[in-house]
C-alpha cells in the first residue's frame, strides 16, 4: 500500500497516521516557521507563527493532524506577511537588543526574523521594565527577551517534574515568573542539568560564566538559515535510513 500524502506548497509530503502537519513537513525537510514548537515536545499552538492554510482554513501546523490529500499553503507571501507582523509585535513588546545579547546567532526568534526578511520593528516600541534575575549561581534569567512560548514552563513541569516556571498576568501584562515564594530562581531546585535549561528559543535562560565562548559569526544560524538547516537535517536523516 502506498503511503498517505498531502500537498504542501504544491509538493507531496508523506505522513504517518497521527503526525501533525509540522512533524510531517519537517521530516520531509520543509520549514514551517515556528517559535513555541520544539521537535522533542508536544505542540502547543500558542505562538501562531506556524499558521498554515489547510484546505482553505487557517490552522496552527504544530497541532493540526495531517490528513490524506489535504492541500496546505505554507510559505506564501500572504502567510509570511502575517508571520512577519507577529514577529514585529514580539520584538516591540520585549527588549530585544541583539548586539548585546549572548544568544545572538543562536536565537530562533532572530533566525526566523532573518528568514522572513524582517527589516524593521515597524511598530512603536514598548520598552518594558523587566528586571533580570541573577540570583542563581549557574543561570541568569533575562526576562527582557521572553516571548511567552512556555517551552520552559512545559518542560520543567512535564519532563523535569519540577514546575519551576509559570506565566502570570493577562494580556500585555502577561509575564514569566519563577515558582518560588521569593520569586527568585535561587530559591528553587533549578539546575543546569534540567531539560528546561536547554529549551529557551531566545536569550532568557543563560548559562553563567560562559558568555560568548563561541564568537559571533561562528554560531548556529550564522552560516546557514534556519530553513536550510531543516532541509539539510531531513536529507541527512534520509541518508542514514
Amino acid at each position: 500500500m502506498s503511503q498517505d500524502t498531502f500537498l504542501l506548497d504544491g509538493e507531496e509530503i508523506p505522513f504517518t497516521r497521527g503526525q501533525t502537519i509540522m512533524e510531517a513537513a519537517r521530516a520531509a525537510g520543509k520549514f514551517i516557521p515556528h517559535l513555541c514548537w520544539h521537535p522533542d515536545f508536544t505542540g502547543h499552538g500558542s505562538c501562531k507563527l506556524c499558521t498554515v492554510k489547510a484546505n482553505g482554513h487557517l490552522n496552527a501546523a504544530c497541532v493540526t493532524a495531517a490528513r490524506k490529500d489535504m492541500t496546505v499553503e505554507n510559505r506564501t507571501p500572504e502567510l509570511d506577511d502575517k508571520r512577519r507582523t507577529l514577529l514585529q509585535l514580539l520584538f516591540v513588546e520585549g527588549n530585544h537588543f541583539c548586539p548585546s545579547c549572548e544568544k545572538s546567532g543562536n536565537c530562533v526568534l532572530q533566525a526566523t526574523a532573518y528568514e522572513l526578511d524582517m527589516m524593521s520593528p515597524h511598530f512603536d516600541h514598548f520598552f518594558p521594565d523587566r528586571p533580570v534575575d541573577a540570583s542563581h549561581p549557574e543561570v541568569l534569567l533575562d526576562f527582557n527577551r521572553c516571548i511567552l512560548c512556555e517551552l520552559c514552563v512545559r518542560v520543567s513541569r512535564d519532563i523535569d517534574h519540577k514546575n519551576i516556571f509559570a506565566l502570570s498576568g493577562r494580556g500585555i501584562a502577561k509575564h514569566l515568573v519563577v515558582n518560588a515564594e521569593s520569586g527568585r530562581l535561587a530559591d528553587t531546585d533549578f539546575s543546569l542539568d534540567d531539560k528546561a535549561a536547554q529549551v529557551c528559543p531566545v536569550g532568557v535562560i543563560l548559562t553563567k560564566k560562559k558568555g560568548f565562548s563561541v564568537p559571533i559569526g561562528q554560531r548556529r544560524f550564522d552560516a546557514t538559515s534556519i530553513a536550510t538547516q531543516v532541509t539539510e537535517a531531513a536529507a541527512a536523516a534520509q541518508e542514514e535510513v
Binding site: P99, Y114, S120, H125, T224
Partner: protein, 182 residues
C-alpha cells in the same frame, strides 16, 4: 548624451556611535565606484552643516535629544528616500537601554551622586546643550522612514548591496547573511 546626474546623498549620526559611518567607509575601494554615481551633501564626510535637496538620506542612530529631532526632520523634509541605518536608528539600540530608567535619576547618578566627582559638580544646563528626551526612540517613531538597514553596524558588504540596489532603482534586498541584527 550627457552623463546622468549624480545622486545626492546626505548622512548624519544622531544618537549613534559613528560605527555605521565607519562601516560605510568599510566598502573600501568601492567608495571610488560610489563617488562615480553619487555626491555627498550634508555628512560628517563633507562637514556641510545643513541638508539640501537630496535623493537619499542615511540616518545613523536613534533620537535621544531635541537636536536629533530637528536634524531628523530636516533630513525628512529634504530627502526623497530616507533610510534608517543600523540598530540604533532601527530600534533605538544601545542608547535605548536607558528607556526603563527615569531621566532625572540617570543625570543625577552621573553628574551628582557618582563616586569620585569633584565637589560642586552639577547636571550641565548650558543653553547650548540640546535637551535630552525622556526616552530614546527609533527614527520611525518620529518621521516616515522608507527603508531599514539593520546591523550593529551593518557590514560594508550589506551597505554596498543596499546602496547599489537603491541607486539601480530597485527595492534593496539583502538576502541571508547580510541581514544581521548584531
Amino acid at each position: 548624451m550627457d552623463a546622468p546626474r549624480k545622486l545626492k546623498v546626505a548622512t548624519t549620526s544622531l544618537a549613534g556611535c559613528f560605527g555605521c559611518h565607519m562601516s560605510l567607509l568599510d566598502i573600501d575601494e568601492r567608495l571610488l565606484d560610489l563617488l562615480e554615481i553619487v555626491e555627498f551633501d550634508r555628512s560628517p564626510l563633507t562637514d556641510i552643516k545643513h541638508c539640501g535637496h537630496c535623493d537619499i538620506g542615511l540616518i545613523e542612530g536613534g533620537v535621544c535629544n531635541a537636536e536629533n529631532v530637528h536634524v531628523l526632520r530636516e533630513f525628512r523634509a529634504n530627502c526623497k528616500i530616507l533610510v534608517a541605518v543600523g540598530a540604533c536608528a532601527v530600534n533605538g539600540g544601545l542608547p535605548a537601554q536607558r528607556n526603563h530608567l527615569q531621566l532625572h535619576e540617570i543625570l543625577t547618578a552621573v553628574y551628582a551622586t557618582e563616586a569620585g566627582l569633584a565637589s560642586g559638580v552639577q547636571i550641565p544646563n548650558d543653553p547650548e546643550l540640546p535637551l535630552p528626551l525622556n526616552q530614546v526612540h527609533p527614527i520611525h517613531e518620529v518621521v516616515k522612514v522608507d527603508y531599514f538597514l539593520p546591523g550593529c553596524p551593518p557590514s560594508g558588504d550589506a551597505i554596498w548591496k543596499f546602496l547599489t540596489d537603491l541607486v539601480a532603482g530597485c527595492s534593496p534586498h539583502l538576502g541571508y547573511g547580510l541581514i544581521r541584527y548584531d
